[in-house]
Amino acid sequence: MDFANYDPAGASRSREIISAKIVIAGGFGVGKTTLVGAISEITPLTTEALMTAAGVGIDDPSKVPGKETTTVAMDFGRITMAQDLILYLFGTPGQTRFWFMWDEIIRGAVGAAVLVDTRRISDAFAPLDYFENRNLPYVVALNRFDGAPVYDLEEVRESLSISPDVPLVMCDARQRESVKQVLVTVVEHAMLRLQAEHDRGYPASVG
């Protein structure tokens, strides 16, 4: 058969679909998957990456015979905004020993929301440190758990040493409207940062 003129049903002519990604970060059990599920059009899915139990930077256990395989799972959701625009929400793995997976997850992202549980504020230190050292716009969202201590936002900002230019909002990860507001804050913050960097005259790099 001659495939020289083979055009698979206009595949080359099909409309380009653009995808964007927002990262939902935070410690283990802070409500990342709940937040994604509250707004995603699909039940949050799980993608698994394999690596050796020792495995920082190694995601191919077959190269290290005899090492045990660990699965790192990340949950994500999808919002189809238009025929040619899809927004994905990616949750980060909760364990801090999987930082290298975070690097892949944040690459090319619009921005991130770091979710904080007010009952375990110190769990937020590591994720916040991570984002302070990356060039990705992020906001901090306090997830209101039932019966959790209620803090003043500025108290939390101080105790977590969150820089004044990082937006800090309250949210309820179970409530669609509340989650929507968090995501709107992320995108608005990303636009402001992009504009500011443009005005200062150097291009922003992502990730």
Partner: protein, 120 residues
């Protein structure tokens, strides 16, 4: 979220379906979208079982690399190798992820995402 031992680990070596290859022909982002026409998926039938399953997942509805891995229950690294092969073979169409350069392009995209969120 809790990491766990892969119960399949001892049964099938994860990279067996790629014949041991671990490097994809091109690095595809987690959120990069792929689509497949009926003609492409008909052709993918001859590309092997796992590749055909991937084509079927993308037929009629564009899916990201992450979704393909989740629906086929294959590890991400394995899925990326197979998807990159399918793209190289012309059996899947790879769409662009968010533009990383160009102030105006990025601003336009952010603006579209913002209004998309507000309309939810």
């Amino acid at each position: 979220m809790e990491p766990r031992r892969d119960p399949r680990g001892a049964l099938v070596r994860p990279y067996a379906v790629t014949r041991g290859r671990t490097e994809p022909l091109q690095n595809i982002a987690l959120e990069a979208v792929l689509s497949c026409t009926p003609t492409q998926s008909a052709e993918a039938r001859f590309a092997g079982h796992d590749k055909y399953r991937i084509a079927l997942v993308c037929e009629g509805r564009a899916q990201s690399l992450a979704e393909i891995a989740a629906y086929t229950r294959m590890p991400l690294g394995v899925t990326r190798v197979l998807v990159a092969d399918l793209v190289a073979e012309g059996l899947l169409t790879l769409h662009t992820a968010a533009p990383a350069t160009g102030f105006q392009e990025r601003m336009n995209l952010l603006g579209r995402v913002l209004s998309g969120l507000r309309e939810l």
